[in-house]
């Protein structure tokens, strides 16, 4: 094509197309221009364990968290101990977590604090399920936004059998447990 300095009819169409095109795209932005991030709704979570296996990251960006204000601080914590654990000890025979990511610290009689070492946690939801069934459901899974690389189509969301994953506004990147599932909130 020969380069021409003249602004011809083609150029006019081209310019119009570019404008219309950009305008339409900006129109598509609509009201919601805020960025979104992926998060799972613990109220819908069924602890299937796929967060561990289906994340593009290894280990998964989904970790267990303890919401302390609904934690019972139990001595006999089912999220921490094997169901039939002999002692309320810290031995592998008694511990539930397959990676020993749950840490137990004595506060005062009869209360213990439970923290999650997120470097070890693989998000298998074993403790979450236990705490939900037997305890207060203070353990639950959340997608750690500092670890998550926020794929355009989240691989876990696609595999989630209970539709618990959705895109949430980046300004409110966590979803708390409410209503029925938790006994206390």
């Amino acid at each position: 094509m020969s380069k021409t300095k003249k602004f011809d009819r083609r150029d006019f169409f081209r310019g119009t197309a570019a404008l219309a095109f950009t305008g339409a795209a900006w129109g598509a932005v609509g009201e919601k221009t805020e960025g979104t991030v992926w998060q799972l709704d613990p109220n819908k979570c069924t602890q299937c364990g796929r967060c561990t296996t289906h994340c593009v990251l290894n280990p998964s960006s989904v970790k267990c968290m303890n919401q302390f204000n609904i934690c019972g601080y139990c001595d006999l914590c089912f999220g921490y101990l094997q169901p039939g654990s002999r002692a309320r000890g810290t031995g592998a025979g008694d511990q539930l977590c397959p990676t020993a990511a749950t840490k137990r610290a004595y506060i005062e009689h009869p209360y213990y604090e439970y923290l999650i070492d997120e470097d070890l946690c693989i998000g298998c939801a074993k403790c979450v399920n236990a705490c939900l069934v037997f305890g207060n459901a203070s353990f639950y899974l959340q997608n750690r936004q500092d670890v998550c690389i926020n794929c355009n189509e989240c691989s876990i969301a696609k595999a989630c059998p209970s539709d618990a994953w959705s895109e949430v506004p980046a300004s409110q990147p966590y979803i708390y447990l409410t209503g029925d599932k938790s006994t206390t909130i």
Partner: protein, 334 residues
């Protein structure tokens, strides 16, 4: 005319190999090979749930569906009538399980007890209200404190026992609402271990002899107190691997006494209804196993009525399920 040109490489072979790799590509991505989480990554509770799949001498014989929003608590009143407290109302059921009366309340009662004279004591989250036989509010006791979370109430003559899960304590009030005693607080001098309440379940019950039995859910057992707050006896039965024990971190959630003095308990987690000998703590038999109840949702209340029927308030159905001893233990019932 001939011209030098690089010949295209075998179009068919190239086409087929491109198509084959394309097909393999879509096949591979369409069948992502993520492994499903295995046994050590999943919480297997079925092993323990199976423990209660045993023959029982009880069967479910009926269902009462109260016309109430959010039914929360049950009580048996004089004449064997069943009182069901729900949101803003209490419904009263007669002998044939039909509603015979109701009165309105103000809010969601968490627990209910009915005195022999028909006076109703309603425990709300933080305070108690006294309602006369006629349904008129006789007294509204002041809020106990901001931490209060009342879960159970019982009346014995002039004493009103109220369980407060928030403060981990049982109060004894007189019928006017003055506090007479605080029961169950840790006191090493008197060998009172203290009631541990990890979750909002704390129940108490009075048997026919007037003994006060209080659940110590964190210890998975029961404690018997005198009215002055001194402890008489206690027994604890934690075990997930045996049906005889209470499972979980905090059980039983509800207790009641049958007409022959047996202790009926209900648990959360693996929801089971069981019968114990209250003095020895010996497990006697299973009434209903966890298969019959939704997991993750505890029963809301448990009472035994005049006909020795065990009534439980099922949160999934918002209805009262009735369990009875089978008339004929071995005969066919179908």
């Amino acid at each position: 005319m001939k011209e030098p040109v690089r010949r295209a490489n075998h179009p068919w072979m190239v086409g087929l190999s491109v198509a084959a790799i394309g097909a393999a590509y879509f096949f591979l991505l369409g069948n992502s090979d993520f492994p499903e989480p295995g046994p050590n990554l999943t919480y297997d509770i079925e092993t323990y749930a199976k423990l209660d799949e045993v023959e029982t001498r009880y069967e479910e014989t009926g269902l009462i569906v109260p016309d109430l929003e959010e039914p929360e608590a049950l009580a048996i009143g004089p004449g064997g009538r069943l009182y069901v407290a729900g949101l803003n109302a209490v419904a009263i059921f007669g002998e044939d399980d039909t509603e015979i009366a109701r009165f309105n309340t103000n809010g969601a009662a968490k627990c209910i007890a009915v005195a022999q004279d028909g006076t109703v004591f309603l425990g709300f989250s933080k305070h108690v209200e006294v309602v006369g036989k006629d349904g008129a509010v006789q007294a509204v006791w002041p809020d106990i404190d901001p931490r209060a979370y009342l879960t159970s109430i019982a009346v014995l003559e002039d004493d009103v026992y109220v369980a407060d899960a928030g403060n981990r304590v049982v109060y004894r009030f007189d019928r006017e609402g003055s506090l007479l005693a605080r029961i169950g607080e840790a006191n090493p001098a008197e060998d009172i271990p203290g009631i541990e309440v990890p979750s909002p379940y704390l129940d108490l019950a009075l048997n026919d002899e007037g003994d006060l039995w209080v659940v110590n859910p964190g210890q998975l057992g029961l404690e018997r107190y005198r009215s002055d707050g001194s402890i008489v006896t206690s027994w604890y039965k934690p075990s997930v691997v045996k049906l005889e024990g209470f499972s979980g971190c905090c059980n039983p959630t509800h207790i009641a006494f049958s007409n022959d003095g047996k202790l009926i308990t209900s648990e959360k987690g693996l929801v089971r209804i069981k019968v114990y000998d209250v003095t020895s703590g010996e497990f006697e038999e299973l009434v209903a196993g966890s298969k019959l109840f939704p997991r993750e949702q505890s029963l809301k209340d448990l009472v035994v009525d005049a006909g020795n029927r065990i009534l439980v308030l099922d949160p999934r159905k918002n209805a009262i399920r009735i369990f009875e001893r089978k008339e004929d233990d071995h005969g066919s019932t179908s």
